[in-house]
Amino acid sequence: MEPASLPPADPPAEIRHAGFKAGVVLIATAVIAVAFVAYVLYARGVFENTQRLVLMADDGAGVTVGMDLTFSGFPVGRVQKIELAADGKARIEIDVPEVDAKWLRASSVFTLERSIVGGTRLRAFTGNLEDKPLPDGAIREVLRGDATDELPGLIASMKRLLENLERMTAEDSSLNASLAGVKTLTDRMSGPSGALGGILGSEENAKKVITALDRANATLASLEKVSARLDGLIGKADESVFGAGGVMEETRKTVANLNAALSEAREGLRKADAILADAQKISASTREATADLGNLRQEVESSLRRVNSLIDEINRKWPFARDTEVKLP
């Protein structure tokens, strides 16, 4: 089938200065694109001098390249690199612009916080802004402040607490029983016997206690009388012991008689001493007689030594003899 022919199309409407307009659009596009790339580089801190800060964290989860390090809510640094260090910790390298480095000091503390809503935050705290500046390439430990890490423990504690509360408030719980007991006690205490009836459990017991108290009072009264009599008795005893012609005066006389008897005894002993001196002289003449006894003893000892050597001789020749000891008489 022959294709149908169409009438020639009208030439498209000519746009005035189309080349110029298109050139303007394209040049504007190129300029905007280049300027934007330059602005992004400026915004990323490519053109500013920075110093390096290294933070060591136990867990680097949530930390991303490009995230901010903030000080008092203002960004003062940007994470450039995260890697696992040789000791297994997360090593976070941060570039801090030199203009913002004044906020970080040698004593600054760094925290890594994970909140329940929102991302992880790296924060710096400087207590003393007069401290030494943080040196370039400083390595600091980062403290963790993690709200979500505490949640499981918190929930477990809450659960235990609620279980305890449930047990305490159950129908047959000890607390309920105690409260019931307290109610019974207060009911009894509001009775005619008052608190005593409540404590002792019944009216009868309370009456018994009151009777016992009355008896105790009567006993105390009679005891008072007894003590008054005892006072009189003690006064009389004092008179008989320490009074004129009492026990103490008689005792003093007896002691004087005893002193005289002791003087007589001392005289008797002096006489016995003279007798003993005579006896000493008798014993001196006896010692001279015992000098001959010494010679006799030496002879006996020499004979014994000889017998001893003879026994040794026999023992040498008689090998089976075991006991070589010689017992002196």
């Binding site: 746009i15 189309a18 080349g19 298109a22 050139g23 659009v25 394209l26 596009t29």
Partner: protein
């Protein structure tokens, strides 16, 4: 007979590669070709620029207001600009621009190619005459691609300015936080991915309508089918590129 889907896809890729090779070849840019490309840039970008910038400003103001108030409600106002840049500037505006140019220029381009094919203008035996594919259609495709690039860049700039003015009005004191958010979101990898995505969008908007027109039969009655086929093709490719970009970025 209609070609199967893999066959059409293979032909599309082949045609796209040829068009790209021609687009980067200096010999393509003859004076008439430049004139046609300029006319295409004007009709796709220049003529709609005020309305487009206004639309971008309104969209940006709406989105920043919604994102900011929601983020404040949840105590996450520090993430307002991050979210805005990621959603509007990096994703929505390029997609919006690509669809806009595809509907404004792509549909017409598909229909014209289908008409040329129906009239036999694209037959090989007529190669003695000026090749309409290289002389007329390629510059128009290049112009459409440049329009996508230009509108994306300008729309993005408008959205950035609107975000700053909405959050900080004209005060200079918001600049530090604003610059930090830009530096945080537009990392070099993200910026490179964004540029590649926009380039793919531009190529898709330039190539697919022509390929859809060329895929029509020589029957005049098939001409009206070329435009919707080209648009559907563009939508599918844009969706695939966007999905791939998101998957690479966030997966």
């Amino acid at each position: 007979m209609q070609a199967t889907f893999p066959g059409r896809a293979a032909r599309l890729i082949l045609f796209g590669a040829e068009a790209l090779a021609a687009a980067v070849s200096p010999s393509t840019y003859t004076a008439p070709a430049r004139r046609i490309a300029a006319r295409q840039v004007c009709s796709s970008a220049w003529q709609v620029l005020p309305a487009f910038m206004l639309a971008c400003a309104i969209l940006g103001a709406l989105v920043i207001r919604i994102v900011d108030s929601t983020a404040r409600d949840f105590g996450l106002s520090g993430y307002t600009l991050d979210l805005y840049f990621r959603v509007l500037v990096l994703e929505l505006i390029p997609l919006f621009v690509a669809l806009f140019v595809a509907i404004r220029s792509g549909a017409a381009l598909s229909t014209e190619v289908a008409l040329l094919r129906a009239q036999g203008e694209l037959e090989p035996h007529r190669s003695g005459a000026a090749d309409p594919l290289r002389g007329e259609l390629l510059p128009r495709g290049i112009g459409a691609a440049f329009a996508v690039l230009a509108l994306t860049v300008i729309g993005g700039l408008v959205a950035l300015v609107v975000a700053y003015v909405s959050l900080y009005s004209l005060s200079p004191w918001g600049h530090a936080a604003y610059a930090r958010a830009i530096g945080h979101v537009f990392a070099p990898v993200v910026l490179a991915g964004f540029a590649m995505k926009v380039a793919f969008f531009a190529i898709a908007v330039a190539v697919i309508p022509v390929a859809a027109g060329l895929a029509s039969s020589r029957d005049l009655r098939s001409v009206p089918d070329a435009a919707p086929r080209g648009l559907v093709g563009i939508f599918v490719v844009l969706a695939l590129v966007e999905a791939g970009s998101l998957a690479i970025k966030y997966a």
